[in-house]
């Protein structure tokens, strides 16, 4: 009896020890080059992680078919941080320290990307942030890390491009009375303020007559919608995104909001359009990702390949992760190394050819962020291609205004 009891306990103890020891044994080096990817893969904004992961899987196949990196096949290790910064920091360290990843793709949303940034600063490994749009991540020299780069759109670029387009649009349509409706947290409040600051600079007679700040993931927008309709603005600017944006549009259609004011939002993506039952025509919208902009065969082919493989359309995050791998590919070729410092030197100032660039190229600027990516504004239409009359943004003007903004923030 006694010995059997001990036996069972022994098994339990061994199992527990194995569980605890597993991560430290698993770090064994193989010829395969492991690349750590972390993001939000569960919960209500899992689309961020899954649509990034899908794109990276396609890149993994493409790169391996072409011989891998430095002759080694690549393999992604995907981890879910649940979007929590302290968990993101842990996962990043684990990917490098115990899973043996030699490169990182940080596909986290903003707050977790800042946590990853600090880990990268400590470890000195190369890292590409592929989804964080918060400008200060790379614009603020105190926050910028030597071996971390952003391959994603940047908040301030979007704000300048959007405000320029909307100022012209407002002038043409004589829209002076505006309302805003954005999510109630740092991204929503800061970025709305940034758009309005630029918009008022380009069109000083714009007046904001009401503001609504729904909570993230709010299921019922009735209160917000009635408040907006009662204020009688001529136009509505919104930074709602993903499920919140589709829920808002669906509910606002019931109240005929779109016949009473013009809506403008930079956050329309394919899955959002798919979740809207009847996409209203004439919403002024930025192109996060559309197959028809830039209107080149490679872009269309990539979008179709993605659709075919995953049975859904790509998001803005998908192209950003794809371009990140294109940057890694070129930088590794140039540096002939995986070392963080060597790759950082190779990446700085690098220009690559890619169908997602405004002129067929995207550049990694000295301040560790990408410029020259496709950025345009148009208007929605209920049928394919969903966004039409797309006007490309003027990158010269964007960089000029961005520099001014950086001076205001005392970043330069």
């Amino acid at each position: 009896m006694v010995s059997r009891k001990i036996g069972r306990r022994g098994v339990l103890a061994t199992g527990a020890a194995g569980l605890v020891a597993a991560p430290w044994v698993a770090g064994a080096q193989a010829k395969t080059l492991r690349i750590g990817m972390q993001s939000i893969i569960s919960g209500p904004i899992a689309l961020l992680g899954t649509s990034s992961r899908n794109a990276l899987m396609m890149e993994q196949d493409r790169i391996n078919a072409a011989g891998g990196f430095l002759g080694r096949p690549i393999e992604f290790v995907f981890r879910d941080s649940k979007g929590q910064p302290q968990e993101a920091a842990r996962v990043a360290r684990e990917l490098v320290n115990s899973t043996g990843c030699e490169l990182l793709v940080d596909a986290e949303a903003s707050s977790a990307s800042f946590a990853v940034q600090e880990v990268v600063r400590d470890l000195g490994v190369a890292c590409l942030h592929t989804n964080s749009e918060t400008s200060s991540l790379t614009a603020d020299p105190k926050i910028r890390a030597p071996t971390a780069f952003r391959v994603a759109r940047q908040g301030v670029h979007d704000a300048v491009a959007g405000s320029l387009y909307l100022a012209d649009f407002a002038t043409a349509k004589k829209l002076n009375k505006w309302a805003t409706c954005s999510p109630d947290y740092a991204y929503g409040r800061d970025t709305t303020a940034q758009y309005l600051q630029f918009l008022k600079q380009f069109k000083p007679d714009v007046e904001v007559i009401t503001e609504a700040w729904p909570k993230l993931g709010q299921p019922d927008f009735t209160e917000v919608i009635t408040k907006l309709i009662q204020a009688k603005p001529q136009a509505l600017f919104s930074l709602l995104y993903a499920g919140d944006l589709s829920a808002f549009v669906n509910q606002a259609s019931v109240y005929a909001l779109f016949s009473q004011m013009t809506m403008a939002t930079p956050n329309v993506d394919y899955p959002v359009m798919a979740a809207i039952k009847q996409l209203p025509a004439g919403i002024q919208s930025a192109t996060r990702y559309v197959e028809t902009f830039p209107d080149v065969p490679e872009n269309k082919a990539w979008g179709q390949a993605y659709l075919k493989r995953w049975n859904e359309r790509p998001t803005n995050w998908s192209w950003q992760n794809t371009v990140a791998m294109q940057f890694y590919e070129e930088a590794i070729k140039k540096a002939n190394s995986l070392d963080g410092k060597a790759l950082a030197a190779a990446l700085t100032g690098m220009k690559i050819k890619t169908p997602f660039g405004a002129d067929g190229t995207i550049t990694m600027r000295e301040d560790h962020t990408t410029v020259g990516y496709a950025l345009g504004w148009g208007q929605t239409t209920p049928k394919e291609p969903f966004i039409i009359d797309i006007k490309p943004a003027d990158w010269g003007k964007i960089v000029e205004m961005e520099t001014e903004w950086k001076k205001q923030q005392k970043y330069i």
Partner: protein
């Protein structure tokens, strides 16, 4: 009387510390070192909570507030001043202790149900302050830009080995101090209050004063755990002060054993190892963790260490009789 057990505790702590510090000289494993660093923070956090839950019988749902407070106070002191790291850490713990004293002064006189809810309410209040006071705390983005880890006596805490050594020493000393508190006369008073508060009151114990003492001390030690957590992530984030984090500490206490001093430390180890192992395999980590906790709660009906002690005490007399 109490001299001998205290000496024994100190020797055990010393032996544990020697072993932990010796490991990297034989084998360097960054993953193991990270794990120990995280356990250090979590063990202090959970054990300090157990001073309330297990020793005094006060179930606090808002203990994460002090963990977060310690992390933010330390991070802000390091970012905004030129203080040396130990001074900033001591100040951060002192500030957390004062915060715990203030919150405790309001909470400890309440009956147990209201106490639990009011601590939760204070935590939510504190969390909301972190989110809204953006100019100071960075709001929901957290304290960005990293915590400068200034050298202390040749120790560079940006180096993983040094951080490992620092955290191990702080955690062992912190746990030893908590052990002394629970074994002291004050600790015995707290247990008496837990077992029968009316008897304690009749014997002349001022209940609220003893409870406030326990609450304040527990807050201070949770703050110390927060300092270590901030060092690990090189930042402070609102999640550290949010209620799910308090829940983690409660889980650690329940999982490891409420009635054993090292129970919460063991619970912290199991919880962290489980989290790491499960997130590696599946996206449904919440489901798996929930099942494990459910099985251990319904199957063992007590924490792991309490269960092992129960088995030992059951076997000991029967062994003698044989």
């Amino acid at each position: 009387m109490s001299g001998r057990p205290a000496l024994r505790d100190a020797l055990i702590a010393l032996a544990a510390l020697v072993v932990i510090l010796a490991i990297p000289f034989f084998h360097r494993s960054p993953a193991f070192e990270d794990f120990v660093i995280r356990v250090s923070a979590m063990a202090l956090f959970a054990t300090s909570l157990n001073l309330l839950v297990g020793t005094t019988g006060m179930v606090s749902f808002g203990h994460g507030m002090f963990y977060g407070f310690g992390a933010y106070a330390f991070g802000l002191l390091m970012q905004m001043t030129d203080l040396s790291l130990p001074v900033a850490a001591v100040l951060a713990v002192a500030m957390t202790t004062i915060a715990a004293l203030i919150v405790g002064a309001i909470c400890v006189r309440l009956g147990s149900d209201y106490f639990a809810f009011v601590t939760l309410a204070f935590q939510m209040l504190f969390y909301s302050i972190i989110i809204s006071w953006q100019s100071l705390t960075g709001g929901d983005q957290g304290l960005r830009g990293g915590i400068p880890r200034r050298e202390i006596f040749g120790f560079e805490l940006a180096s993983q080995l040094h951080l490992y050594q620092f955290c191990a020493v702080v955690a062992v000393l912190g746990l030893l101090a908590l052990r002394h508190v629970t074994e002291s006369r004050f600790g015995r008073t707290l247990r008496m209050i837990r077992d029968n508060e009316h008897r304690a009151a009749f014997l002349g114990v001022v209940l609220w004063r003893a409870r406030l003492g326990a609450f304040t001390l527990a807050g201070g030690f949770a703050g110390l755990g927060g300092v270590l957590a901030a060092l690990f992530v090189s930042g402070a984030y609102p999640e550290l002060a949010d209620w799910p984090n308090s829940g983690q500490a409660i889980f650690a206490v329940m999982l490891g054993g409420i009635g054993s001093f090292l129970g919460p430390t063991l619970g912290a180890m199991i919880l962290l190892a489980l989290n790491d192992a499960v997130t590696r395999v599946t996206e449904y980590h919440g489901l798996v963790l929930g099942l494990v906790i459910l099985i251990s709660a319904l199957g063992l009906r007590r924490g792991v260490l309490d269960y092992l002690r129960l088995i030992r005490s059951r076997r000991a007399p029967s062994g003698e009789s044989r």
